[in-house]
């Protein structure tokens, strides 16, 4: 008897050992995190603040590069990795590896976004907190996109959230502390709701692993509306990270008051991580489809509507991008309505493009905003003269976000809606037609506020005479590359499909 138990235990341990290869990138991040912690202690006495900031940034970037390298090895050796591992806690898919490597690239860009001209920023970068919590977000996001168990979903969401709360308050001024508290309270409530939903799901199905068919059949005994509420509660935690309506309330405040490059990180990465997790779950929810599709349609429609209409009144450019990200989340979310084989490409195309255009827009807004010391839209009037190249590039990203050709944002929307319409012709679900028309009409509202920034820069005359053009030199390299990718992906979107199909395994 005892020997048998030992055998089982042994097998479980072996399973974990086998699976270790899966989380190598996370290991790398943890090691980097620990290294930065120690380095911070050692460096504190010896080096000046500037040098410390430089060193910590380079450690941080090295860690991320190592993690990126680890994912690239995973691409190569993928066939040898088991599909489910850690005793069913983690699920490995090519998509998860792909999206994780995107996360690391995002993190590198977000880190390089910091401009070390401002002493406060240097001070921020010289401390270890920012680096540690940024890595924390990434570890959480990495695990979330691999979760096949409700517990690992909960764990990783919490890890991301706690890091994000800390990152929000890291500026240590009144505004950012208040936003962090607000974020924390909303987040805690969302997590509590999610846990409540999860406990129902466990109660009805007897399993925490959403890959088990029992997980989905068990819930069918519940009346339709109750099941809807249970799933809404469960997904609520994910929607909170996605910042979909009605779990979006934290967005504008946090966007306005946190350190901007950190916002780039902890808004984009957890959002895409949660979306990817939901996308993975969508592979199994066919049995409750008539429940999930209306839910997704309503939530994404509400996200578009609220995001776009609130953005119309927003005066702060940071807040504007916050509302825009809510609306964009709605667009990505509706991709999940399609069956997983059809939604794979549109979903990852939109996600990749969303990430690129958001990073570009964040970067340029930061450059102009920091130089002018204001994110108030009205004060940007006439700045296009001073920042011509920056302004034009920003226009590229904003138009791409709005979904105007010839930018990849248009291709992304086109793909999503074409796929949805094909799904409609196969199934005839009127909800889908509604969301196609609704979503497309929303882009008209969106263009109004996306054009507001270029309008301020180029069309509105400033009251004060602006001085001559100032070159931002090196800081423009990365956004230029991102802009080139946005154009390239419009003219050759199949490049991305080549990348995605090259590891078309997974589920």
């Amino acid at each position: 008897m005892e020997a048998e138990q030992i055998d089982i235990l042994n097998q479980k341990l072996l399973n974990i050992l086998d699976g270790l290869a899966v989380i190598v990138p996370e290991f790398v991040l943890v090691i980097g995190l620990a290294f930065i912690l120690v380095a911070d202690l050692i460096l504190q006495k010896r080096k000046s603040e500037k040098q410390r900031a430089k060193l910590l940034i380079s450690y941080h970037v090295l860690t991320l590069l190592a993690a990126l390298f680890a994912t690239s090895i995973q691409f190569r050796d993928f066939a040898e990795i088991q599909n489910q591992t850690f005793n069913g806690f983690l699920l490995v898919s090519g998509e998860a590896i792909f999206i994780r490597s995107l996360f690391y690239i995002t993190a590198i860009i977000a880190l390089l976004m910091f401009r070390r001209t401002n002493p406060a920023t240097v001070k921020l970068l010289a401390g270890s907190e920012l680096h540690i919590f940024s890595l924390g977000v990434l570890i959480g996001a990495g695990i979330l996109v691999m979760s096949s168990n409700l517990l690992s979903i909960f764990l990783s969401i919490e890890l991301m959230s706690i890091s994000a709360y800390a990152l929000t308050g890291i500026l240590k001024n009144g505004e950012s502390a208040r936003s962090a508290l607000r974020y924390f309270i909303f987040g805690s409530v969302a997590t509590a709701i999610m846990l409540y939903g999860m406990s129902f799901l466990y109660g009805f199905s007897g399993t925490l692993n959403w890959q088990n068919t029992g997980f989905w059949t068990g819930i069918q005994s519940v009346p339709l509306y109750s099941a809807g509420i249970i799933f809404l509660m469960f997904f609520g935690g994910l929607f909170f990270k996605i910042s979909a309506v009605p779990f979006h309330v934290w967005v504008p405040v946090v966007y306005r008051n946190a350190a901007w490059p950190s916002v780039a990180l902890f808004s984009i990465v957890p959002k895409l991580a949660a979306l990817t997790a939901l996308w993975l779950i969508s592979s199994r929810w066919i049995s409750i489809e008539n429940l999930v599709i209306p839910m997704l349609v309503i939530i994404s429609a509400a996200s578009m509507l609220v995001g776009n209409f609130s953005a119309l009144r927003e005066k702060n450019i940071k807040g504007l991008l916050g509302w825009s990200s809510i609306a964009q989340a709605g667009f990505i979310l509706i991709t999940l309505v399609a069956p997983i084989e059809s939604s794979r490409f549109p979903f990852f195309f939109y996600s990749t493009v969303f990430l690129i255009m958001n990073l570009g827009a964040f970067w340029l807004v930061y450059i102009i905003g920091e130089a002018e010391q204001t994110y108030d839209m009205d004060k940007w009037a006439g700045l296009g003269k001073k920042y011509t190249f920056e302004g034009v590039l920003l226009l590229v990203f904003l138009l791409s976000l709005a979904g105007v050709p010839p930018f990849a944002g248009f291709t992304a929307k086109l793909l999503v809606f074409t796929t949805l319409f094909e799904v409609y012709t196969l199934g005839g679900n009127p909800w889908i037609v509604f969301i196609i028309v609704f979503g497309l009409l929303n882009t008209v509202i969106a263009i109004f506020f996306y054009l507001k920034i270029p309008y301020m820069l180029f069309i509105k005359e400033s009251e004060t005479e602006t001085n001559s053009t100032k070159s931002n030199g090196i800081a423009m390299i990365i956004p230029s590359i991102l802009g080139a990718i946005i154009l390239l992906l419009f003219f050759k979107p199949d490049l991305l499909s080549l990348v995605l199909n090259s590891f078309n395994f997974g589920l």
Binding site: E341, F345, L414, T425, I447
Partner: protein, 572 residues
């Protein structure tokens, strides 16, 4: 050489726009010359095509290259091509594009403020308009169609009048809304037009099996699935003739006229038609979607007004000819009465408004609305005269409105004031100008001998015939539309009389110094336009011989479908 002739029409202006961005901002003369080169090339190239083309053949020149394709897994593969083509339907409008854009460059000869950005944007606009007319792939068309808004937004917004920011955003939002409606239909259409050759290659069919019937049959029998097919949305394959020949339309889909997929009680095809129709009517613009136009015109500078009226609006009409009517003839037939009504309303409403305007530019803008109503009426009549007349009106109005906006611009350049009541007796101050302005107004009111007359008379004939040929339009529509001609005569002659004849009167005495006669540059713009309206008014066959090859098959096809549908309706 002729291999890349079509591409050069799009890419030369694009390339020159980049050159302008690179050369120093101080070199303003060079910027103007480059812009002139880019737009002039459109004229030269389209004349070359016109002269060398075999007008009997349907297609004169084309270039087809794969752009990209996307594998949607179970939903099949979408193929998008770089497919541009010149035929009788777009060549005249391409020529008009060149003429009006060149006139625009000459009219903006004195732009000094931010001239680098101005001419770069202008060439960008030129490239996208030309691309829009040439594109045969729906996505490519849409790309140019929507991209056009952007340079226009800035050209109105930066170099416009006092309320330019309002006008430019209104223009952008209205037309974007229209293009979204088009996009919805485009999305819905994409999985319905099969690229038979590519699909056959993918499935491995023999040559005899490479046709749409076999594909549709195989799909029905389950020999292959939708995911094995390749879809490409080329306008040439869009024709949904119901006899299932020469089309590449998937059976049972949106474009299959034999199947009625209903959505909210109405066939899906009708919905698609209505969405497309509204999308293009906003661009045209037709009442009640026209309100962006007067604002945009009033705030835009003279050259931009010329481009806007002469060619941008024509894309709306062209879209109806190229996409809407070929793809959904049954729905077009079903809604012919309503389209005709919209046309008549536009004719009368536009003309009435024009009568009431005090601002010369607004008057011309409303007269555009009125003239575009004829396009709708002609289309709705479903007769040979009507369709030819509608197309003729697109071309003719391009020339005439360019002249009229130039006339308004000449006055505005001198005094920065466009109120009609502020001027009288200009003829004695500026005799040359008075002659050319008179020609412009006479052409606009549809005097015989000018191109506008041919167009409008053909449309009216079509509308009258419609009653007896296919009884789509009631007789009163043609009669009321003919009243529009009288109103046009009223506002044109009245304006002419008030501004140019009688005793000299200027609101401010100092204007007298400014009111010198036309400069050589202004003559170069106005005289050729005036000559062209005369030439096309006296020799209509010049244009009709070219358009015939494209419009006749369209009419035939629409007729055939109409006949089949009538039979079908009678059978029910």
């Amino acid at each position: 050489m002729s291999q890349f002739l079509l591409s050069s029409i799009i890419f030369l202006p694009l390339f020159l726009a980049l050159v302008i961005l690179v050369i120093p901002a101080k070199n303003q003369a060079l910027q103007r010359i480059l812009a002139l080169l880019g737009t002039g090339w459109i004229i030269i190239a389209s004349v070359i095509i016109w002269l060398t083309a075999d007008t009997q053949a349907g297609i004169y020149l084309y270039e087809l290259a794969p752009w990209f394709s996307l594998d949607l897994n179970t939903l099949g593969t979408l193929k998008f091509d770089y497919f541009i083509l010149a035929d009788g339907l777009n060549l005249p409008l391409l020529l008009l594009t060149g003429i009006s854009l060149t006139a625009g460059v000459l009219a903006s000869w004195k732009v000094r403020e931010k001239s680098k950005a101005y001419f770069a944007l202008y060439l960008l606009l030129a490239a996208s308009i030309a691309g829009c007319f040439l594109s045969m792939d729906f996505l490519l068309f849409f790309l140019f169609f929507e991209f056009m808004l952007l340079p226009m937004y800035f050209l109105i917004g930066i170099w416009g009048g006092p309320r330019r920011s309002y006008a430019s955003i209104k223009f952008f939002l209205y037309t974007l809304f229209g293009s979204i409606l088009i996009l919805i239909v485009m999305v819905a259409m994409y999985g319905n037009v099969v690229d038979v050759d590519a699909s056959a290659a993918k499935i491995g069919l023999t040559e005899s099996q490479t046709n749409i019937e076999y594909v549709n049959k195989g799909l029905a029998n389950g020999d292959f699935e939708k995911k094995d097919l390749v879809f490409a949305n080329h306008f040439v394959n869009l024709n949904t003739s119901l006899n299932e020949q020469s089309t590449q339309v998937l059976a049972g889909g949106l474009l299959d006229g034999n199947v009625e997929n209903r959505f909210m009680g109405r066939p899906l095809r009708y919905w698609a038609f209505l969405l497309l129709l509204i999308g293009f009517l906003i661009k045209l613009p037709a009442v009640p979607f026209h309100t962006w136009l007067p604002d945009a015109h009033v705030e835009a500078s003279t050259p931009i007004s010329i481009v806007l009226a002469a060619i941008l609006l024509k894309i709306g009409g062209y879209g109806l000819f190229r996409i809407v009517y070929p793809a959904f003839p049954d729905a077009a037939l079903h809604y012919a009465w309503w389209v005709g009504l919209l046309g008549v309303i536009a004719i009368i409403y536009g003309a009435m408004n024009a009568l009431a305007q005090k601002d010369l530019k607004k008057l011309v803008a409303y007269s555009s609305v009125s003239h575009m109503g004829f396009v709708l009426l002609g289309l709705a009549s479903f007769t040979s005269e009507g369709l030819n007349g509608a197309y003729y009106q697109l071309f003719s109005h391009g020339l005439i409105s360019a002249m009229l906006f130039m006339v308004a611009g000449v006055i505005y350049d001198r005094t920065h004031d466009r109120l009609i009541e502020n001027y009288a007796g200009l003829a004695s101050l500026m005799p040359k100008f008075a002659v050319l302005a008179s020609i412009a107004f006479f052409a606009s009111l549809g005097l015989p001998g000018f191109s506008g007359f041919i167009a409008e008379i053909m449309v009216l004939l079509g509308a009258f015939h419609s009653n007896s040929v296919n009884s789509l339009l009631p007789m009163w529509m043609a009669i009321v539309a003919a009243l529009g001609l009288i109103l046009a005569a009223a506002y044109c002659l009245w304006t002419l009389q008030r501004m140019f004849f009688g005793e000299v009167f200027l609101r401010k005495e100092i204007w007298r110094l400014e009111m010198v006669d036309l400069s050589r540059r202004e003559m170069i713009i106005l005289v050729p336009l005036a000559l062209l309206t005369l030439v096309f008014g006296i020799f209509p066959s010049l244009l009709l011989s070219v358009t015939e090859g494209a419009i006749e098959p369209l009419i035939k096809q629409v007729f055939e479908n109409a006949a089949m549908f009538n039979a079908k309706l009678d059978g029910q």
